[in-house]
């Protein structure tokens, strides 16, 4: 009896405390900004945590960062959610996706006028670059002593390469467009010459790079910044990327504000912060890409300073989208033999 009374009393006290706690919280509750990004951005070793903490320190708000797959998964998620999406900001689209993204009408102009250090002039009102990189074939210097200097040399070599599938992977699609941009009408022919060099095709970058590090192939399709990771994070200077005479496809990673963002002003402030020197300084050694705004101190040692901007091939988003389907058909025809 006594115990039951005690329990009832505690329950009553607890119930009474609930609204009080809620009331105490409500006036102070800061606005919450919702940011969608890809998995490796929000991971504890990615740029997400530092950028969130940096922005929270100045905005008087809380930032909720949700990671979902990769860039293509991100866009698919936003399209599924449509105008009802709780997202304010998306980080992680790229120039291969941005034409399709713009056509959805889900995005609003970013309104950020920061000067950018990109190899190309940038005037897209919807998508704001926050870093960029060059696609490249990465190898082990000891194993590949004379790396090929072009696609033609690669095709004529006896090297084995691992690439990503363009149908499921963003670098894979990039390679497709790279070959198309460099060889145009002759891209299909180049793929037929490259086909014997391709050990296998993986669904995504992680599997390809994992197989490469396990020693399955001589080279892997990755980024010109990949060797910097091994140099800086692992103190391992044995990896390098092969410089191709045709140039290297430039992948620009993009952020944007949702047209239906619940907090449009905070979203704009966040995008401005994303390209500020403070946030940009986080990018190189967490996202392993070149920053869109070069920090005053330059790139960290190990990156190779300055970035190889002169080698960049830039495919404008509209062109990338227009070339995509024909390039995929050529690729399938050459490799499905």
């Amino acid at each position: 009896m006594g115990r039951a009374a005690l329990a009832l009393g505690m329950l009553a006290a607890g119930l009474a405390a609930l609204p009080a706690a809620a009331a105490a919280e409500t006036p102070a509750a800061p606005p919450a900004l919702t940011v969608y990004s890809y998995d490796s951005f929000v991971a504890e070793w990615g740029p997400g945590p530092a950028i969130r903490a940096g922005f929270e320190a100045r905005c008087g708000c809380t930032v909720r960062m949700l990671g979902m797959g990769d860039g293509a998964a991100l866009l698919a998620r936003l399209r599924l959610e449509g105008a009802r999406s709780p997202a304010d900001v998306v980080i992680g689209l790229d120039t291969n996706l941005s034409a399709a993204a713009a056509a959805t009408g889900l995005f609003a102009p970013h309104g950020v006028a920061a000067p950018l250090d990109l190899p190309v002039a940038w005037d897209d009102p919807l998508f704001l670059p926050y870093d960029w990189g060059l696609l490249a074939f990465v190898h082990d210097r000891a194993r590949v002593t004379a790396p090929p200097a072009s696609f033609a040399e690669l095709a004529a070599s006896s090297l084995s390469i691992i690439i990503e599938d363009p149908r499921s992977s963003s670098p894979g699609l990039g390679l497709l467009l790279w070959v198309k941009a460099a060889y145009g009408e002759k891209a299909g022919e180049m793929w037929q010459r490259l086909a014997p060099r391709i050990l296998t095709v993986t669904p995504g970058w992680s599997e390809a790079y994992g197989l490469f590090l396990a020693g399955e192939a001589d080279m892997v399709l990755s980024y010109s910044t990949s060797p910097a990771y091994h140099r800086i994070a692992e103190g391992d200077d044995t990896r390098d990327w092969a410089r191709f005479a045709e140039g290297h496809l430039m992948q620009v990673e993009l952020a944007a504000r949702l047209a239906a963002a619940p907090n449009p002003d905070l979203a704009s402030a966040f995008l401005a912060y994303l390209v500020s020197p403070e946030a940009q300084a986080v990018i190189p050694t967490t996202n392993w890409m070149y920053p869109a705004v070069m920090p005053a101190a330059g790139l960290p040692a190990g990156f190779g300073d300055p970035p190889p901007a002169a080698r960049a091939i830039f495919l404008p988003p509209g062109e990338a989208r227009a070339l995509r389907d024909a390039a995929l058909a050529e690729w399938l025809a050459a490799l499905a033999r």
Partner: protein, 521 residues
């Protein structure tokens, strides 16, 4: 209505309810994707015929080979007693629960271009073996499914009452007669189901087929679905392809249903068998060789994963351990749900429930996980924050995906228990909960433990839909491992892979051994 008939009705209603829920969870998401797309998308493209043909052929070859190799292995395990046998039977559960990317890395460590096998061949002056190609796809699928087939067949073997073997001994049967009168009828009941299960698993293969198949020649339907979603964002086409996959599955089930035979071994007292017919030296050598070869084939790749990752276990980031705890809870919840559904469907079926209920229980295997996850997302999103439901949704989907295996393991045992002792139980008025407790549960403990273990391990190792629902602190261990890989941290990822292997295998072994406690298996 007599009490007994009423009781049977209770089981039938529970089974039909569970089967209806499962069918709804499979078909509603598919419908949701179709509705969101505004109808079916572009019809089959030029590549789809080739993808469907490749998908079917590799699944058929993988299923046939897995089952063919599993028969001698299961027979050897059924008629031999040796130290470590119980551990080996448990180990058979390991490959199927590996996430595909870990399994691929494990296989390549042995069979790859830089793998142990080619190193050994090179030392002998022999040329390298090429794993990439159709042979690689089938190798991987046999690695995954040979153990599963062996376990399913072994369950059948152990279901032959010891009394039959004693009778055979009394009649002076040799191995040939035991084969003709006991083993072949047994195989006729077990093989179609085991083969169909593996065929269906292989139908939805994607990453394994692409990587080991060596490129777009190895394009499966699941990859075409993935492409429709990701490359083209054509939901209608994705739904259409997924529906095509479901139709293939149903056709396969109908085909199997028409060839599978009911078992007719009668009842026994569940004593273990000392086999009189297996004493010959030649047979002993043959069984020993089969067991050794299978153990090496399965254990070497697993050992490679463990050797690579074990030293990294101590240095894993805290987020990985938190994710492991989350995965463990998720796995137990999914196992409980899958086990309950499977038991309800199997018991309902054994008490005269419709055949469709068992078919509904197998459906989830054939629905593209991508379509299932997206459809669930579309259903949930208008009602609740998907990120908040990431873990419950993942547990539910994993329970669904494990259900076909749980059912395959449980249904024959439940049917046998009812056939052997059902009439006695009914005449004694044992009904409802008492019948479940006294008749069914004690007699299906082994397969139930196996089914729960399999479901738990699947759920722990599945990357699946959590990605589509993902939010803040909801990362599971496989997702965290994939994030490490995606950030160049392959060494940490190899540590996470070992943790995942230990977790999944630990869960499997705990349930499986729990089911076998006190029995000799």
């Amino acid at each position: 209505m007599s009490p007994a008939a009423r009781d049977g009705a209770g089981f039938r209603i529970a089974g039909a309810g569970a089967a209806t829920a499962v069918a709804a969870l499979v078909l509603l998401p598919l419908a949701a994707v179709l509705v969101a797309a505004g109808g079916a998308g572009a019809g089959p493209g030029p590549g789809d015929g080739a993808a469907a043909a490749f998908t079917l052929l590799q699944a058929l070859a993988s299923a046939a080979l897995s089952v063919a190799l599993a028969v001698p292995l299961a027979r050897a395990l059924a008629r031999r007693r040796f130290p470590g046998r119980a551990a080996l039977v448990t180990l058979l559960g390991a490959p199927v629960l590996l996430p595909s990317v870990v399994a691929v890395m494990a296989l390549l460590a042995v069979f790859g271009r830089g793998g142990a096998l080619n190193a050994a061949l090179a030392a002998l002056g022999l040329g390298p073996l090429r794993v990439y190609g159709p042979q690689g796809v089938i190798l991987a699928h046999v690695f995954f499914n040979l153990p599963l087939a062996t376990r399913l067949i072994l369950e059948g073997w152990l279901a032959i009452p010891a009394e039959r073997f004693r009778l055979a001994a009394a009649l002076g049967f040799g191995p040939a007669e035991v084969g003709r009168h006991l083993e072949r009828p047994l195989l006729a009941t077990v093989l179609p189901g085991a083969g169909a299960t593996i065929f269906l698993v292989c139908l939805s293969s994607f990453a394994v087929a692409l990587i080991l198949g060596g490129g777009p020649r190895a394009t499966t339907l699941e990859l075409a679905i993935y492409q429709a979603f990701r490359f083209d964002f054509d939901l209608g086409r994705a739904a259409l392809l997924a529906a095509g996959q479901l139709v293939l599955c149903v056709l396969a089930l109908v085909l199997v249903g028409s060839v599978a035979l009911p078992a007719g071994f009668g009842a026994g007292l569940d004593r273990s068998v000392a086999r009189h017919d297996a004493g010959g030296l030649l047979l002993r050598l043959q069984d020993g060789a089969v067991i050794l070869a299978a153990t090496a084939f399965l254990a070497l790749p697993l050992a490679a994963v463990v050797a690579a990752g074990l030293p990294r276990l101590g240095a894993l980031p805290p987020a990985v351990w938190a994710a492991a705890a989350r995965s463990a809870i998720l796995a137990v919840a999914a196992a409980g749900l899958a086990g309950t559904l499977a038991l309800a469907i199997a018991a309902g079926r054994a008490r005269g429930g419709g055949r469709w209920s068992e078919a509904a229980g197998v459906l989830p295997i054939a629905l593209s996980p991508m379509v299932l996850g997206t459809g669930l997302f579309l259903l949930v999103f208008p009602l609740a924050d998907p990120a908040a439901l990431a873990l419950p949704a993942t547990a539910a989907v994993n329970a669904l995906l494990a259900l076909p295996f749980a059912l395959r393991a449980l249904a024959p045992a439940v049917a046998a228990a009812e056939a052997a002792h059902g009439r006695l139980a009914t005449s004694l008025g044992i009904t409802g909960g008492a019948r479940l407790r006294l008749l069914l549960l004690p007699r299906v403990r082994r397969p139930l433990g196996f089914a729960l273990g399999l479901a738990a391990a699947f759920a722990a190792g599945d990357l699946g839909v959590v990605v589509l629902f993902a939010g803040g602190a909801t990362a599971t261990l496989p997702l965290e491992m994939f994030r490490l890989m995606g950030a160049y941290r392959m060494e940490a990822a190899s540590g996470a892979a070992v943790l995942l292997l230990l977790l999944a295998f630990g869960l499997f072994a705990a349930f499986d051994r729990g089911g076998r406690l006190g029995t000799r298996a």
